[in-house]
Amino acid sequence: MTDLTNLLQSVPPAIASAGSLVELEAIEAETIGRGSGIADARRGLGGITDAQERRETGRAINDVAQELTRLIADRRAVLALAEEDERLQTDRADVTLPGRRPPLGSTHVITQTMDEIVDIFVGLGYTVARGPEAETDFYNFTALNFHETHPSRLESDTLYLDYGEQEEEILLRTHTSPMQARYMEQHDPPVFIVVPGKVFRADAVDATHSPVFHQIEGLAVDDSITFADLKGTLAEFTRQFFGKDTEVKFIPHYFPFTEPSAEMHAYTKGRWIELLGCGMVNPAVFEHVGYDPDKVTGFAFGMGAERMAMVRHGITDLRALIDPDQRILEQYR
């Protein structure tokens, strides 16, 4: 018994001064492990015949064992924490090493521009239509009120395709406007659509021209669409696309498929820039698609995606937009 009491005197300071987990484990084995005094004492319990005494002695042993176990556990926690801390201190990373970066490509700025323009109009209640790029003369010209002898039909302006014997010429659409007629033929009013897509002209590549470029066509037809609606819609679009303070002005112009027709100019980056062509749908177009021009009115507009992107991103040479150089494409991220 005296030995046990002595243990409570001598062991705790040893536990407290144990400097490592290994040292602590040695103390533990020595004091409460198999060969320890406590183990001996427990084994000696069997020799105590008096039940009362055996119970009391057993309780006393347990009390001591529990106390030592607690002390050891507490010390172990402290030592473990310290040792982990020490280990982590040496496990250092150079955080300035370039990270393991997943690759990132980009969508083309023309795609981004068209998507954003489309989204603005979707927000105004429009939907999206797309049409063929190889188109008939009828949809590209005739249905849009281009006279049979209109100069746009010349080979100096329009690219034609050799597509066998046909009743009419097959060509590469010169604008996205053919979808006006195609869509109206297939749908009753109200029609609110935007048509993004590739268009083609017989132009050599230079700083402002490319034989392939992109347009976004818009068409709004209902029983009471007015020129005021055209102005308001395009002004709102411009504010959303170029910034809320962007001023616009509308200047009379001429297109065969709209009347009155206008060019919209916007004041951005300190100057007036011609942005797009627009106008009220010419009644002749309604007649071509089977709408009653006395019952519906509408407006249409067409803008060049390249032009919009160039104005917005400070691109002065269109050739940058057709260059597959990844040093350019990286900037589109």
Binding site: V212, T226, I251, P283, Q326
Partner: protein, 799 residues
């Protein structure tokens, strides 16, 4: 068209001085100003002088001594020109004058006699091309004599403003100084000044008789004979205006015609009367008839062309170009000035077919004003009185079988609000139209009489345009209607998802041209160029590299990759989504959307990852990624052969049984032809199968029970595909398979000679229970049996 402010001011008072304000005025009318500039003289201190005396130089025989009155003094000037005598009014550069910006005139001695200034020629003053002799102003600028000593720049009309006006095709009436003045007068609400055309008739009426066989093609034919003409250069003021307008001066006769056309818009043509004879007949050409035109080209005509003849032989292609046989030359003394009105579609057709466009045809094809025929001819006659000593014959010719009269348009006032969204009452509407000199009657609807110069105004909407223009686009309010919605269509959303997935995989979108060169297809798709001719050719390509519509995205992508590597970038990763063009059975070519991608070059290494080349497996992996991103099940790859691809490294992409594209490495020879080397990975897929709407996905709740995880390795000859082993393993594992991965493929010592080992990791899990060892064992045996039965691969071991 180009014209000066001073010319406009002959017909309209312009209320603003600032050219920019005038530019805005033009624009508000729909006349875009492409460019404008202030015209200033390139000289200073040049004054009007009068030559008082001319005498020989005692020491030189190529120059003469002159005394010239320059107002404040009389200057002794030595002059080398001989085209003047005493009494000549001349421009004099006084000492201190600067010509051309850097040539200063000083007093100097010429052969011992001082010269105090210089009498100037056109070229010295940048006022023309005439370098022989000095400018003599007496005839060219008669009023100059009243301004001795005053700046010569004022006489010429400096300063002025030059405008280049882009007249839209619907406004032929504005292809003239007078026409634009009319539009400006309507805008400014000031009167349009009179044309002031009057000729002094003399002599006998013309002997010419005119017959028109085809009045529908030539509704009016007018003109005037002018006699006593001396063909010579035009006076400076006239040449100067033509020069500003961008027209070359030829002779007084040709110049008068051009001047009158720019001024009033009506083209005219001058015939030499002596060579024309006394008969004019307007008829359709006969098939194969020929004429030598003014440009000395022989033109072969057909029955759709209209000709002016001398009764038998064509002397002009009506409205397009005159003939050489009656052309005015230096010996001409009498001319007939033709001013006709020709049917626009016919003029366009003829000039297009002959490839012969003239200023005249350009105007007639848009529509000239039939009411201006005689006026146009008389303006030429009037000019020739001044510039050529011409004597107009009395009784002009005017054959008017077409009787084109002004027409009326009925206009309901409600059209204004219906189309423009603004309400204008009867008087406001009529007021605007009357400013354009349209006459208006009635209350509502209005009956509007449209002058013959406005072929573009035929319907109510044409009047809406005029009302909007003059009322001002800026005065129309802005309203924003909302569409019925519909949103971004599902397909559009899916295409965006495709792009985002590829971008996230590190690939750049590239937009290449839709046409390629035939040579691009020779190695990649030679069949497209022959036999059925699947490739569609462009009729009028700009060059050979754009002569064929692309049947594949591959050439464009290879060129894009090559461009990057040529610029010494280590690798290229590009994709494109776009249409290809294939001969189909419909009216239009088939134009399916494709998705293509290319990997070329070396993926750069890093401190953590070695550099590496990509191969076909990068391609198939990307397609797998796309399939996952777009919820396309059942994408598999099958060995395939495609022209231009590596025969052993090319796969057909299958969705179920459908072949939807190719992934593979480009044949080294083809790669080389595009300037590429090493493995070049290409994928080209039909886009549509990746866009299918599969409806909303349904959640599968993951099992909470522990999995059974194990590896199995199979050995098989290389002829057995990994895909078939995996497919068999999948089947064998059955419904409880949660995950399967081929984690090692190897050959070597531990594998039988001629065999490949495939190590596969399996994770199985039941939704409702913990799998027992017995169950797991059974599944392993099933997998082994299935793989061996299906492929012949043998189980090497399992863990």
């Amino acid at each position: 068209m180009k014209l000066t402010r001073s010319w406009l001011e002959e017909f309209v008072e312009i209320p603003m001085d600032d050219p920019e304000e005038l530019v805005e005025a033009f624009e508000s009318l729909g006349h875009e100003i492409e460019a404008w500039s202030v015209l200033e003289p390139t000289f200073t201190d040049v004054v009007v002088g009068r030559v008082l005396e001319v005498a020989a130089h005692p020491n030189a025989d190529k120059v003469r001594l002159t005394k010239v009155d320059v107002g404040t003094e009389v200057l002794d000037i030595i002059c080398g020109a001989w085209n003047f005598e005493a009494g000549a009014i001349v421009p004099v550069a006084v000492p201190g004058a600067v010509l051309g910006g850097d040539f200063t005139i000083t007093r100097r001695d010429i052969r011992g006699i001082p010269s105090n200034g210089m009498i100037c020629s056109e070229t010295e003053l940048d006022l023309g091309d005439e370098a022989d002799g000095i400018m003599v102003l007496n005839d060219d600028y008669p009023k100059a004599a009243q301004h001795i000593g005053e700046p010569f720049a004022d006489v010429v009309g400096f300063p002025d403003v030059l405008f280049d006006v882009n007249v839209t095709p619907n406004r032929p009436d504005c292809l003239s100084v007078y026409g634009l003045s009319r539009d400006l007068a309507a805008l400014f609400q000031v009167p349009l000044r009179d044309t002031n055309i009057a000729v002094t008739e003399s002599g006998e009426p013309s002997d010419l008789s005119v017959t028109i066989d085809v009045p529908e093609m030539c509704p009016r034919f007018a003109g005037r004979e002018v006699r006593g003409i001396t063909v010579r250069p035009s006076p400076h003021w006239l040449r100067w205006r033509l020069r500003q307008a961008g027209v070359r001066s030829i002779s007084n006769v040709v110049d008068a015609s051009n001047y009158a056309m720019i001024e009033f818009g009506h083209p005219t043509h001058a015939f030499d009367v002596e060579r024309l004879g006394d008969t004019i007949q307007v008829r359709m050409a006969s098939e194969g008839e020929t004429i030598v035109t003014l440009d000395d080209q022989e033109r072969t005509l057909d029955a759709r062309d209209i000709v002016v003849t001398d009764g038998t032989t064509p002397v002009a292609i009506g409205g397009v170009m005159g003939g050489a046989s009656t052309e005015v030359n230096e010996t001409t003394t009498a001319i007939f000035i033709e001013a006709a009105y020709w049917s626009p579609p016919n003029i366009l057709m003829t000039s297009k077919r002959l490839g012969l466009r003239s200023e005249a045809s350009a105007r007639f094809e848009r529509g000239a004003d039939p009411s201006f025929c005689l006026l146009g001819a008389d303006r030429v006659a009037q000019l020739l009185e001044i510039t050529a000593g011409g004597r107009p014959a009395p009784m002009p010719i005017d054959v008017d079988p077409g009787h084109i009269q002004p027409w009326t348009v009925v206009y309901p006032l409600s059209e204004t609000s219906r189309v423009l969204g603004i309400a204008l009452d009867r008087d406001a509407t009529a007021g605007l139209l009357e400013r354009l000199t349209f006459s208006v009657e009635g209350i509502d609807p209005l009956t509007v009489t449209v002058p013959t110069r406005r072929p573009d105004v035929r319907k109510p909407v044409d009047l809406v345009e005029e009302i909007a223009r003059l009322h001002g686009f800026a005065s129309i309010p802005e309203t924003v209607p909302s569409g019925p919605g519909g949103g971004l269509p599902y397909r559009e959303q899916r295409v965006r998802r495709v792009r985002e997935t590829l971008v996230g995989a590190g690939i750049f979108e590239s937009l290449t041209f839709s046409f390629i060169g035939a040579s691009d297809l020779e190695m990649l798709d030679p069949e497209a160029l022959e036999g059925e001719d699947r490739a569609i050719r462009v009729v009028n390509p700009l060059n050979d590299t754009e002569g064929v519509m692309r049947t594949s995205l591959v050439p464009g992508l290879l060129k894009g990759a090559s461009a990057n590597l040529a610029r010494r970038l280590p690798s290229a990763s590009l994709f494109e989504i776009g249409k290809v063009f294939l001969t189909g059975s419909g009216k239009l070519p088939d134009q399916p959307d494709r998705l293509g991608f290319v990997f070329a070059g070396m993926l750069e290494g890093s401190w953590h990852t070695p550099a590496r080349r990509r191969d076909i497996h990068d391609g198939t992996g990307l397609v797998q990624l796309l399939a996952d991103a777009l919820d396309v099940p059942d994408v598999t790859f099958a060995p395939s052969a495609r022209t231009g691809f590596h025969p052993g490294r090319c796969a057909a992409v299958m969705i179920g049984d459908a072949n939807v594209g190719t992934v593979g490495e480009i044949h080294p020879t083809v790669a080389d032809s595009f300037g590429l080397s090493g493995r070049v990975v290409i994928g080209e897929l039909d886009l549509e199968p990746f866009l299918t709407d599969r409806g909303a996905w349904q959640l599968v709740t993951p099992s909470v029970f522990p999995p059974v995880v194990f590896d199995m390795a199979f050995a098989a000859p290389p002829t057995v595909s990994a895909g078939s082993i995996l497919a068999a393993a999948r089947r064998g594992a059955g419904e409880l398979l949660e995950h399967i991965a081929l984690f090692d493929v190897f050959t070597g010592e531990s594998v039988d000679e001629g065999h490949v080992s495939y190590a596969i990791n399996f994770r199985l899990r039941a939704p409702d229970r913990t799998l027992t060892d017995d169950e797991a064992g059974l599944i392993r045996r099933t997998i082994a049996a299935e793989v061996t039965d299906a492929t012949g691969a043998v189980l090497r071991g399992e863990v």
